[in-house]
């Protein structure tokens, strides 16, 4: 075994190694971004397409890709599933820094990639390609805009909706055809749904809960009460306003005063709802099909409740298509043709009717195909009705930090660790710091 001298040497080595690993983390060099698309001798183009929709939805995406491949003979697209939004975003960042990107990608928070300089604004192609923007709901264009540039093409979009257990409603003496429309009604209904079914002084059936991404539902409350998330420049978050604090207070009351929402159990909310232990659940409209598949009771879906006396304001979510920069103009043009196919009216109809996502074209709602689909899936009406109130939260660079800060605020308030004002002020401070630390372009 090593003697004393070599032990101190070991210490030195460890310090050196750790120092090298931490301090000298290799700066990602500015590499020429080139995508992996290729043209063979016969002029045939192969494109790499990364997407982030798994399961049954992913199969619809792959079916659309094969339709594109069969529709013409010039371009072949290789689709690869790269995980959910967070996973694919990490892979795209790694790909950009290594200089080898796919040609087209479908992912969430897509316009934020604009800052990297690795994507081509979709607006470069729309008008030259004869695309009429007015066919698509304006809110979807806003959702894909950052810093005044339209970066990405709307693809799969959803809204937060209220799911409710029709059987539990009936058992509690509530009319399953009259879901709550305001938060006052949610409290009223929630009290009737919250029960101790086995008389052990512990509540085992709750009135309402939300899915894990609590920031989305809290943002919906903020906007519905006239509060704003961020200023137009994207430099300051604004949820320390009285209107916002009031809404987090409402959230806190659901847990601590009305006791109709279990504290900090959002990760189990979906399972609780499906097990019949939860009356109402706020969740994405993209889950309508899977919720109907997994439930052993009748699922109802309604437009997310509004603040009493106000109209609902509903921030959309979802993913978009981006075109990554490539040196060869031909490949880039082929990528646009593919994007155009994926986001065409026919594809949008197929995606919507097979997955539950929203159709991005306004006139699709009146098409006979879509009407037939709605009569087959009446629950989807709640998401199309939500479109009348849909807005887009402005994309800004600290959006990810802001979302997690809001989730943190919700958790603190639910556990009674902070009052709503403190929690929101702390969240704002954290986000402001992150905005300041970001390198200015």
């Amino acid at each position: 075994m090593p003697g004393k001298t070599s032990i101190s040497l070991v210490g030195l080595v460890i310090v050196l190694l750790i120092g090298a690993a931490c301090g000298g983390s290799p700066a990602v060099e500015k590499t020429e971004v080139s995508s992996s698309g290729s043209i063979d001798q016969n002029g045939k183009i192969t494109l790499e397409f990364w997407y982030s929709l798994g399961g049954d939805t992913g199969k619809v995406v792959e079916a659309l890709v094969s339709q594109f491949n069969e529709s013409q003979s010039e371009v072949t697209v290789n689709p690869t599933y790269q995980g959910e939004y967070a996973a694919i975003m990490a892979k795209i960042w790694a790909a950009i820094s290594s200089g080898k990107t796919p040609n087209v990608a479908q992912l969430g928070a897509a316009p934020l990639l604009g800052e990297t300089g690795a994507i081509v604004p979709i607006s470069d192609y729309l008008e030259p390609g004869g695309f009429d923007r007015s066919q698509v709901w304006d809110v979807f264009w806003q959702y894909n805009t950052a810093g005044g540039t339209l970066w990405s093409m709307p693809f799969n979009n959803s809204v937060p909706v209220l799911y409710y257990n029709r059987d539990l409603f009936a058992a509690a003496g509530l009319d399953p055809d009259q879901p709550p429309q305001t938060w006052d009604q949610v409290i009223e209904y929630g009290k009737q749904l919250t029960r101790d079914t086995d008389n052990n002084n512990e509540i085992d059936q709750w009135g309402i809960n939300t899915h894990e991404n609590t920031h989305w539902y809290l943002s919906t409350l903020f906007l519905g009460n006239g509060a704003q998330i961020v200023n137009p420049e994207g430099t300051e978050v604004l949820y320390d306003s009285p209107e916002a604090v009031q809404m987090l207070q409402l959230w806190s009351d659901l847990v601590n005063v009305e006791k109709i929402m279990p504290p900090n159990q959002h990760s189990e909310a979906r399972a609780d709802f499906l097990a019949g232990k939860l009356g109402m659940l706020l969740n994405s409209s993209s889950s309508i099909f899977s919720m109907e598949r997994d439930a052993s009771f009748k699922v109802g879906v309604a437009v997310i409740p509004a603040v009493a006396g106000r109209e609902p304001v509903i921030p959309i979510g979802g993913g978009s298509l981006v075109i990554l920069k490539q040196e060869d103009e031909k490949i880039q043009q082929a990528a646009w043709e593919f994007v155009r196919f994926m986001a065409s009216e026919e594809s949008a109809l197929e995606l919507a009717t097979k997955t539950g996502y929203l159709p991005i074209y306004s006139d699709l709602l009146d098409s006979p195909e879509f009407k037939a689909y709605l009569s087959e899936h009446p629950n989807v009406k709640a998401s199309t009705q939500s479109l009348d109130y849909a807005v887009s939260i402005p994309e800004f660079s600290a959006l990810g930090t802001s979302d997690s800060a809001l989730r943190g605020a919700v958790e603190q308030v639910e556990l009674g660790e902070a009052d709503p004002r403190q929690a929101l002020e702390a969240a704002k401070a954290a986000v402001q710091q992150s905005i300041q630390e970001q390198p200015q372009p």
Partner: protein, 296 residues
């Protein structure tokens, strides 16, 4: 020993006491078995739950109170799982990578361990300490530099990108060196006198004598690579190069809801090879753990 001989003498002098001691001993071992039983149940429960869920319909997965035994066995989940992703390809990839890493680690670790245990050279103590110190650096720290190296070598989406970074393993060198050091020097001297070279001595004498530790190290390497997630995730982009663990993860969907029955069916298929291999080398593995005093 004294207590044993004592108790042997006891029956003549204090028969009742001897009986009660025997009873205590028996009660003690019953209690011990109860504890072991409880611990094994805790270990088995997640496996059982995985298998039970793999046969359930979607509504049954979420039913409350939970059903322990599926009402109707949904073998279709296995068919769906197998067809929902190119699992045959994932299996091949995982097997190629895990076996190659295991073989590579055993070869490289044996050679290094032999040098550290049996040879004398300048700076040996320092080199060995340097080796050991690398075990204190967590993989997360080396992730980015390793990725950049692999990427510069253009090894993204290749088997060598998945295999080569794991061929050397400092912990394996340490463990095998400790075992090699227990083999008496006289054996080596005798072999050397008979004209046996170093490599031949290693291959024909030391390695056969060290089977338990090699089996243990081999199993560590195999399981570690079979289960590894982060590295394959970042160095593979194409479907054809993905391993099983990456394939599994793609069943989980926050946005549209995870199909738990199918997901668990796939998990069962992925777990089976590791369990089979574990049972095959179990005996050597337990010996190996006993010799290192380490628990896997």
């Amino acid at each position: 020993m004294s207590s044993l001989s004592g108790s042997r003498r006891l029956p003549q002098v204090f028969p009742e006491l001897a009986q009660s001691r025997r009873f205590q001993k028996r009660a003690g071992s019953v209690l011990w078995y109860l504890v072991l039983l409880a611990v094994s149940l805790t270990v088995i429960l997640p496996f059982f739950w995985m298998i039970a869920t793999s046969f359930k319909t979607p509504p049954e997965v979420f039913s409350y109170p939970p059903s322990w035994i599926p009402q109707a066995l949904q073998f279709g989940n296995y068919v769906d799982a197998w067809h929902s992703a190119p699992f045959a390809r994932y299996f091949t990839n995982s097997a190629v990578v895990a076996l190659a890493v295991t073989a590579g680690q055993l070869v490289s670790c044996c050679l290094a361990a032999f040098a550290f245990a049996r040879m004398n050279f300048k700076g040996k103590g320092f080199m060995f300490a340097l080796f050991l110190s690398t075990t204190m650096i967590s993989t997360q720290v080396t992730l980015v530099p390793s990725y950049l190296i692999v990427q510069k070598l253009d090894w993204i989406d290749t088997y060598q990108g998945l295999i080569v970074p794991f061929i050397a393993n400092a912990f394996g060198v340490f463990m095998i060196r400790q075992s090699f050091m227990t083999i008496p020097r006289d054996l080596e001297d005798a072999a050397r006198i008979d004209g046996c070279g170093r490599l031949r001595f290693l291959a024909t004498i030391i390695i056969p004598l060290s089977k338990p530790i090699l089996a243990a190290q081999g199993l560590f390497a195999f399981m570690g690579n079979w289960n590894s997630y982060l590295w394959p995730l970042i160095v593979t982009n194409r479907e054809e190069m993905r391993t099983l663990q990456i394939g599994l993860r793609y069943f989980v969907s926050q946005e549209t809801g995870t199909p738990w029955g199918i997901y668990m069916a796939a998990a069962v298929m992925v777990t089976i090879p590791v369990i089979v291999i574990y049972f095959l080398v179990q005996k050597s593995f337990v010996e190996g753990m006993a010799t290192t005093g380490l628990k896997g």
